[in-house]
């Protein structure tokens, strides 16, 4: 039996641009264009990169009775984030937790006029949609919009490009999310992304996606960017890749994502707890954890990648951690990684040792991100 891969609405465009297509989360996706990962990465940091992220899942969550306030209140039962207090037109990073305090998925959720606009990871989208729909069946309707396209335009010049299409783009702040139109079609525009740069994500109907992408690519500052550079960009930005850096057995506190849990949901807060795993996560917020996600920089030029074990000293006897993502940071100009280490080894500038091809390589714990964010707050 052969596994048939899905294609995004931009598949033909990727092929015509000379992309190298690879299987990713059930889709045939561009890993790089003839420009190459290194240049694509640098171009995004310097100008503007166009990413096809249509494989990700777009959802709408709507209250069956009443307004969006009811959907916000209901959604708080699934995540440790404050959504009741989120203003209209604002977007927030969220984590679906499980009963053990682990992470089912990480997602972006925006409060719109009548509903919530949710973007989830490609590999989790069916499970997420079913889980959200079943969990909130009494109060909410979860509407899958998996047939819509999602593009991201990222980089310091993204604002100037987007302004030519959407006059409101430049007045948006980081994590604003608005409903607007393109050639008469409804599009969802957020000022956010997954690169650490200023930029936008645009959800739009499949039938206009190619035309819109071509219009963006016609701008001299815009180049198409593949998944290879998307990974090195997010790694330099210290952002987690679901399935690598966070998963069902890592908790938000261990993952150093406590910043994403607002005061109202923490122990002692106005709406504390009330989400899966709240007891464990609440305890960890107060007492800390045995391990923590940290940034890591290997000495020298050899990248350390996911799965490499970390030790307290050169004898490599006492394992104190493991790398969950690693590679080369083209902007940072050195190998970069992140992983989990025992909390007593998590302080920046702690020297650890990686076991790499039978040798031990010194690795420094680093604070994240490796490259400062360019967000317009």
């Amino acid at each position: 039996m052969s596994v048939s891969l899905l294609r995004t609405p931009l598949y033909d465009l990727h092929v015509s641009l000379g992309a190298k297509m690879v299987p990713f989360a059930g889709y045939e996706m561009p890993v790089q264009y003839p420009t190459g990962v290194m240049e694509e990465h640098k171009h995004t940091r310097q100008k503007a990169g166009l990413f096809d992220v249509s494989h990700m899942g777009q959802l709408r969550l709507k209250a069956k009775k009443g307004g969006v306030e009811n959907a916000l209140a209901a959604f708080e039962r699934l995540v440790p984030m404050d959504f009741v207090g989120l203003a209209e037109g604002r977007q927030r990073y969220a984590l679906l937790t499980n009963e053990q305090g682990g992470i089912r998925d990480d997602l972006m959720v925006a409060r719109q006029k009548d509903d919530l606009f949710i973007v989830v990871n490609a590999a989790c989208k069916d499970a997420d949609a079913s889980y959200i729909a079943a969990s909130l069946a009494d109060e909410c309707e979860a509407i899958r919009q998996f047939d819509r396209a999602l593009l991201a335009l990222q980089g310091p010049e993204a604002v100037n490009v987007m302004n030519q299409f959407f006059p409101d783009a430049s007045s948006m702040r980081f994590m604003d999310c608005i409903e607007t139109t393109y050639k008469g079609h409804k599009v969802t525009l957020s000022r956010s992304g997954y690169t650490g740069e200023d930029g936008y994500e645009i959800g739009l109907p499949a039938e206009i996606a190619e035309g819109f992408a071509k219009a963006l690519l016609a701008h001299p500052d815009v180049k198409p960017i593949g998944l290879g550079a998307r990974d090195s960009l997010r790694l330099e930005a210290g952002l987690c890749l679901y399935g690598n850096d966070i998963d069902t057995i890592t908790t938000p506190v261990e993952a150093a994502l406590s910043w994403a849990i607002q005061k109202a949901r923490r122990p002692g807060g106005a709406r504390e707890g009330g989400y899966p795993g709240a007891e464990k996560i609440g305890q960890q917020l107060q007492n800390g954890t045995e391990r923590l996600r940290v940034g890591l920089q290997p000495e020298g030029r050899a990248p350390v990648r996911a799965g490499v074990e970390l030790f307290a000293d050169e004898t490599a006897r006492q394992q104190v951690g493991i790398v969950t993502s690693g590679g080369f940071g083209p902007t940072y100009g050195a190998p970069v990684a992140m992983g989990y280490v025992k909390t007593s080894f998590a302080k920046p500038e702690t020297k650890l040792f990686a076991s790499l091809r039978g040798k031990t390589v010194p690795v420094m714990v680093k604070s994240l991100p490796f490259v400062p964010a360019g967000f317009k707050r």
């Binding site: 890993v31 990962v37 240049e39 290879g228 990974d231 050899a302 990248p303 590679g327």
Partner: protein, 119 residues
Amino acid sequence: MTTYYTETHEWVRVNGDTAIVGITAHAAEELGELVFAEGKDNGTEVSVGDAVAVVESVKAASDIYAPLSGVVTEFNTQLSDDPTLINKEPEGEGWIVKLRISNKDELSRLLSADQYAAL
């Protein structure tokens, strides 16, 4: 000197009992710009198919396999400063390791330039 090739995209140039090993232009292009290269320590004994070096691009690490059995005698240390030499001159200055080969009979199992081009 004749250059031989492998199905795993290495080339090997043999002169007496010394073999110079690198990766083909096709392989270098597929890997993209390299950020790191490292050979096995000098003196390491390898059999056909064992890793003799590793090269890394932004996105992945790839082993370079011994086309012939022998002992590693030299790593191209220019690659430590500039691994992109492999991208620029894959079948010249961007060679990766030298081996002292132990069994010349193994040459018959390698591909000619024409056979490699036909892959």
